[in-house]
């Protein structure tokens, strides 16, 4: 089975030893979305403002709202255009206590709505060094902590990233 981590922020050379078939390195395979972009790389549309996201959904590859805002219009549009939301694990690792509980709560609610509306999502590490990387088993375990079933977490690191990368 092929596992993917579509967003890491360092030159992760030994990704195959960690169990991944491909990783998306920021700046090389993945870049930020810009209105006049021309490159073929994957584009991550990241904004806390849903009204900024909605008109640009067709032209991006991945979407991330750091606040996990429950804008049903955006989530439905993402499902319609077969785009996926990115759920990075790094903010969970970097926080603790009530802040972490708050992030988990918002993410769980968001993922419940995504499952209900048939919108895809991927789990990524957004690691900036080797110690922040998470192997497939760990990403699946974190997905389960976010309210997903084992199969849903597995799909978020196998089928969906594969489709996004066009493989």
């Amino acid at each position: 089975m092929d596992y993917f981590d579509l967003h890491v922020r360092f030159n992760f050379e030994n990704y195959k030893e960690s169990g991944f078939s491909r990783v998306g390195i920021w700046g090389k395979d993945l870049e930020g979305f810009e209105d006049n972009r021309r490159s073929e790389r994957l584009a991550l549309l990241e904004s806390a403002d849903s009204s900024y996201i909605k008109p640009r959904i067709k032209r991006c590859s991945l979407i991330h709202n750091p606040n996990y805002e429950l804008d049903l219009g955006v989530i439905r549009a993402a499902a319609k255009h077969e785009k996926a939301f990115e759920v990075p694990v790094r903010p969970l690792l970097a926080s603790s206590g009530i802040e972490r509980a708050s992030i988990i709560k918002r993410t769980r609610r968001f993922l419940t709505i995504c499952n209900k509306l048939g919108t895809d999502y991927i789990l990524t590490s957004r690691a900036s060094n080797i110690y922040e990387t998470k192997r497939p088993a760990e990403l699946i375990a974190i997905g389960c902590a976010l309210g997903l079933t084992y199969d849903q977490s597995l799909r978020a690191i196998t089928e969906v990233p594969k489709r996004i990368m066009g493989l």
């Binding site: 969970l92 690792l93 970097a94 603790s96 206590g97 060094n129 080797i130 110690y131 922040e132 990387t133 998470k134 192997r135 088993a137 760990e138 990403l139 375990a141 974190i142 389960c144 902590a145």
Partner: protein, 110 residues
């Protein structure tokens, strides 16, 4: 009088590997692991999970933790959230879980 086997708490053993920027001792690892489980699951969740350190090899970083069978997924999630051991950057790599320690040790050696 001991508890009947059918009424006994069912246990699972979770194996993991520690990757840290500098060598860590068994005491440091298990303090961090149990602390991570406590902070993630809370006091009630910790009591249900009933984690207990079993074994840790400093040379290889291989460790085994025992927990309640019904809470294995929660314990594994808690381990995945651990990012520091005694102030040093570290990561816990989840290996496998089993009903017996012998099988885990055998899998690790192979």
């Amino acid at each position: 009088m001991s508890v009947k086997p059918t009424m006994r708490d069912k246990r699972r053993y979770v194996s993991f590997m520690v990757e840290a920027e500098s060598p860590v001792s068994e005491k440091e690892v298990f303090e961090a692991v149990l602390g991570s489980i406590l902070s993630f699951l809370g006091e009630l969740g910790y009591s249900k999970a009933n984690p207990k350190p079993m074994k840790f090899e400093s040379s290889t970083g291989f460790g085994i933790l025992r927990c309640a069978a019904t809470e294995t997924d929660s314990v594994r999630s808690s381990l995945a959230f651990l990012s520091k051991i005694n102030g040093k950057r570290a990561a816990i790599r989840l290996l496998s879980n089993s009903g017996s320690i012998r099988k885990l040790k055998k899998n690790f050696k192979s």
